[in-house]
Symmetry: C2
């Protein structure tokens, strides 16, 4: 995620930046197709050259330059930043007989014990339980590492605290745009046996007459059968974290879509319209369900 | 609440403004004593003269000026703004035989029906159920009026939707400071038969190294016996609504304090520290409970 920060700094320094992405969109795991267009546009407006659906085949040195060869041509530049995901550094553990789980991360129970009862694991090397599906999940982020570290530390000193898991909450900032998600996408929800419906809205962050209002896009995912909230994706230049966090909490508490319509959010013109955009998204999603 | 907006505009115009408040603090129903000091200081820094614990006894005209006489002296000025709360305009309803409830507001059931089955009431004239206590409550705010109006309209046209009530969520902005609350204060919680504990923290709104970080004060109120979250008060210059809304949702879902520690909030340096201040407040409150 730090790559975004670098991008901004590189552009600030006046460098010409090209992103080559193998899939059809930036952040394919975080954001649906429609939201990807908003992000693409924002990147292009900030002077980034985007090459989507293009696969890097080789990175070569040539007369002091770097040459990136793709299936569609070549790009020449002063240097190349590679951001292709994260893998757990779990070889030592595996060699010692510690069992690995999903994505090759160290398998821990909810008390963060490995298969050796006196050995604990936490953070970017370890799995976490997804509290929506109850299954193992690997998403190495700072919040999870920090919480797991506290609990593993306490438990290794004799306590018996439980790490209740994660919802897959993540947020990043690309130039002025926050991009966030929590819970399951429609594709993930189908894979987990849910019958999901999603509803995307474009709202505003402040009262319609407030000079600083900005657009905010919210895509809520709900299970048709149980009406349970399954996830959300949010894009906008402010208040994105708030919406993600509200749904991350709703996911832990197994909230239904009507809970997101009915809860008593507060209101003052500089912080939202009277109908908070998350409330509007929830109301629109319930209408989709009633149909 | 609009009075705050006027205050800012009056100061912007260069007027000398004095607030006379009968109780020992501004917004006595929203904020505890410690937070009141933060607000008082902010008002004074913005050039407001504060007269607390002083009771207005008379407002008189004298040579084209207004004279405000208090139990402690007199203040002379060009005009006087009076903000002493809101009362429901329910006389016509009462005269027609419609029953009134708490604070003289029109009594409605959860379908927003009055005691006459074909007459509905909604908004600033009507009561709402407090979804923490299950009791009638009167807090005339725009969000409630808007939601009740939709439901009363739909129900009077044959639907049977339910208004699940309010948590007493409110937010206002005094100059640069947001002041918010939801749920019960400690005093209200005791009155309702809970055994509350409260824990106040001072956090920061963004990562400690982020140049735009600001202080944020959070006071969480929790029932000792059930560990149920009962309410929160928040003061700060950004992200206050988010914390209020998270707890307002938690109140509807009857969350326990550990849920606020354990839910998977998202994190990026411009939106919070790794440990979100609400998570810190919840963790500190659980420690208080464990003691």
């Amino acid at each position: 995620m730090l790559v975004w920060k670098w991008l901004r700094l590189l552009k600030k320094k006046g460098l010409a930046v090209t992103i080559v992405e193998m899939t059809d969109r930036i952040l394919p795991k975080m954001i649906n197709e429609k939201f990807a267009k908003i992000i693409n546009q924002h990147l292009v407006e900030n002077g980034i050259v985007l090459k989507l659906g293009e696969k890097v085949q080789e990175i070569a040195d040539f007369k002091g330059k770097k040459i990136v060869l793709t299936n569609n041509g070549k790009i020449s530049g002063d240097f190349v930043l590679v951001g292709v995901g994260v893998r757990p550094n779990s070889e030592i553990a595996q060699a010692a007989g510690i069992k690995l789980g999903v994505s090759g991360a160290i398998r821990v129970d909810q008390h963060l014990r490995t298969n050796f009862k006196d050995i604990f694991a936490a953070g970017d090397c370890a799995v976490a339980i997804n509290y929506i599906t109850g299954k193992e999940y690997y998403l190495p982020l700072g919040t999870t590492a920090n919480k797991q570290g506290r609990i593993a530390g306490q438990n290794s000193a004799g306590k018996n605290y439980m790490f209740r898991g994660i919802a897959g909450s993540a947020i990043t900032k690309a130039f002025e745009l926050y991009i966030g998600k929590t819970g399951l996408s429609v594709e993930e929800a189908i894979r987990e046996g849910f019958d999901p419906v999603e509803k995307e809205i474009e709202g505003i962050t402040r009262a319609s007459y407030h000079p600083e209002k900005k657009p905010i896009w919210i895509n809520l995912i709900v299970d048709k059968r149980s009406r349970r909230v399954l996830g959300v994706q949010v894009v906008g230049s402010e208040f994105v974290k708030a919406k993600i966090d509200e749904i991350a909490l709703a996911l832990l508490l197994e909230a239904k879509i009507e809970d997101i319509v009915d809860f008593d959010w507060c209101y003052v013109p500089p912080t939202s319209p009277v109908w908070d955009p998350l409330g509007i998204a929830a109301l629109q999603t319930s209408k989709t369900l009633y149909r």
